[in-house]
């Protein structure tokens, strides 16, 4: 395989295995931690059913038995019931609620970054705004999220989980994700730097002299780099989403993962990490497709050329 196809091929392969490797690693991690949920609910010194409970939850024969049982259930969409976080509720139901919420949160945050990137690439966003964005970016996402959470609670009171408040919560979370921790400022300065550097290339200067557009010439060459930048930004948003969801009490994957970890609800932890891995895999797939598409576009023969 030629080198130019290797990278997207690796990304495609990673996208396929990630949803299973991540839960496998998480299984190893949680097995290394002291205590287990069966002993927490039914401490052996106070309760005689610890072993029966461990057997019910596949905790009695080591991490591989637990993980393989989990995988065989997950392949049919059965993630079991929550043990401690929401006792008795199917984990699949919790995932169904959480995945779209996290996807919406990250997408809204990403939208902000895309708008910033577009503004920087087209020079619509003036460079003198960069210090302002950088100053805003100094604020950590957790601080922004905490301020928003306090305002929502005091403002809405008992209605803080109504549909309207939840929409506002999502919006504020996306703002926190997009603005804080230099997410937007980093995107703007990164894209601006890349595009300005490409603009100075000779072939672009020649294209401008021929009366062609700058972006239509520079973009195909910068697209792989831009795709890589945006994927990195998206992963940054995805990891930040976990913090923002917990602080702002958004019913997403990050909040589910956090709650499941605190409660030692292994089924929920694995399912939530599986959800994150699926989202990451989707991003990897998207990036691979962009790279493949760009390669095909760059290497096609232009029409209307007479040999």
């Amino acid at each position: 395989m030629s080198a130019r196809w290797l990278r997207p091929a690796v990304r495609l392969g990673a996208a396929l295995v990630l949803p299973f490797v991540v839960p496998g690693l998480i299984t190893g991690l949680i097995w290394a931690l002291p205590g287990d949920p069966a002993s927490i609910i039914c401490p052996p010194e106070l309760c005689s059913g610890t072993e029966a409970l461990a057997e019910r939850w596949n905790l009695d024969k080591g991490p591989w038995h637990f993980f393989s049982s989990w995988v065989s259930g997950a392949l049919t969409g059965d993630f079991g019931n929550s043990w401690r976080l929401q006792q008795g509720i199917p984990v699949a139901e919790l995932l169904e609620e959480s995945i779209p919420t996290t996807a919406a949160l990250v997408s809204l945050g990403l939208l902000l970054l895309i708008l910033g990137a577009t503004g920087a690439a087209t020079r619509w966003l003036p460079a003198k705004l960069d210090p302002v964005l950088q100053a805003v970016g100094l604020v950590p996402a957790v601080v922004m999220a905490m301020s928003a959470a306090a305002a929502l609670t005091i403002g809405y009171g008992v209605e803080q989980y109504s549909d309207q408040a939840n929409l506002l919560r999502l919006g504020l979370g996306a703002l926190a994700l997009g603005l804080a921790d230099a997410a937007l400022s980093g995107t703007v300065t990164g894209v601006r730097g890349l595009m300005e550097s490409e603009r100075r290339q000779r072939y672009v200067q020649m294209a401008i002299l021929r009366g062609e557009g700058t972006l239509s010439n520079a973009l195909p060459n910068t697209l792989p780099a831009l795709a890589g930048q945006m994927r990195a930004r998206t992963l940054h948003l995805l990891s930040g989403a976990a913090v923002v969801e917990v602080v702002l009490q958004i019913n997403g994957l990050g909040d589910l993962l956090w709650g499941g970890t605190l409660a030692q609800d292994f089924g929920v932890v694995l399912a939530a990490s599986f959800g994150f891995a699926v989202l990451s895999a989707a991003l990897l797939l998207l990036q691979a497709l962009v790279e493949i598409g760009t390669e095909l576009h760059v290497r096609r023969s232009p029409g209307g050329v007479v040999a």
Binding site: G35, E45, T153, V158
Partner: protein, 518 residues
Amino acid sequence: MQIALAGALATVVSTGATLAFYEESLPTSMNPLYAQSMVDNRVHELVLDRLYYHSPITNELTSNVTNQWELAEGGKAVRLTLKKGIRWHDGKGFGAKDVCFTVQAMLDEGTTSPIAQKQRAVFAGCEVEKDLVALVRFTKIFHNPRERLGFQVLPEHIFEGNTAIPPDHPFNTRPVGSGPMKGSMGRRGVAFEQVDNAHHEADIDKMILQEAQDPLVQVRTLQNNGVQGIIAVPPPYRPEVAASDELALKSYDLRSWWFVAVNPNKAYLADKRVRQALNQLINRNELRQLSIGVKPDEQNPPCEFISGPFVQSSPYYNRAVEVSPNSDKDAAFALLAQAGLKQVGGRWQYKGQPISLRIGIKAPLEIEAPDLLSQIGNQLSAGGFDRQEFKISVDEWNTKVLTGQSDDFDLLVGKWSFGLVEDVNPLFHSRSGDKGNLNIFNYNEKAVDSLLSQFNTARTDTQAQDAYHALHELLASELPYLFLWKLDTKSAWRTEVRSNTITPYYYWTVFDAWKFEP
């Protein structure tokens, strides 16, 4: 479009405002067999019925679901006749089969619950004699058999007769009860809806339980009428709430007492004179003032000192045993010297080795009594002991401390709460079999075991009281615990909430009488 309109219309014509309140946390389970916290116990009181409870007004043992009772089988069983017409929230009839199902579920080894395990020492079985008559059998004759029937009744039909109830049953989040409110737990709170019944007719239509936020945010939200109540107001915010005309601060007796458990397995703590000396070094007045904010001369303080393992209002409390509100360093030093400890450079040593006390506290207690751990450490340090302080998570407390596996600690600060049955046997009996299963440091004293057995075999209330009075006196001398105080929690409710009598421990027992007039 039509569905949206119908939804909006439904909102307009729905009856009753919603009463919202903050709880310390979300419940871990809505199944009383898997209760792990006081939040769980309070929520269960709204959704399910206990066979018997103490009236918060008269303290009499009473029942919402039984008409009459009688002793049977020589006192080893109780025959209960249930009231007619009681229904579960899904409309099915409530009867003797449900009572017996609940007993059988507790006896089933497949119900992997410490609460069920404890009840297996109490109940021997149950028989359905008629639709509304159940015969509950005990393992032995109790002097207070109805007090053993303070458990919530579960619906047999939901579990389809399967008495092995696991902790991940859907009932644990979406229960079907017979109480005044139907409850359903989500990720952010619990929603309650009033259900009319033959034995309940609550005045409040809907309630929402939400997890408490930052204390300042809680109080501001209450003041803004964003919520109408806070179950447990942190002590620093009580003066602000008390000063408001729109809010009322109400005492909530948790029937709980605080203690410092002492590890008698450590060589320097094995001698009771050392434990007595530590008791003399503790200044309870100062601790109370600095950590809870109660002044020594305050009238009707929410925090009442105790000298033994009962609250002062308990019939088992021995009033002849006095409390020690202040410290006495001279007496403490004399006791330590008698026990063979030596002071070198102002620090106590045992057999030439300096003593450094490892002191732990159950982490949530620091919210109720901020800095208590540090204050205790400071007092012991002033008395010549080095110390290290630790906060212990709830899970670690339940799995290590309560099971007697925390021998690396010297002192542990904790709190016990007692609902209906004030049985301290599991706390102080030496560990063997199913006895002493909450004995933190595996304390072992034959005289104590003997008194506990006397209580167990008591046939009358007087015999039981005599046994526990003697126990109180003995423990005040032996000091496996340094007994601190009983601390009432304070709830805050807006004045629109009326007739809100708060039952000790269970809180919502007489919820039918509560009114909300926004």
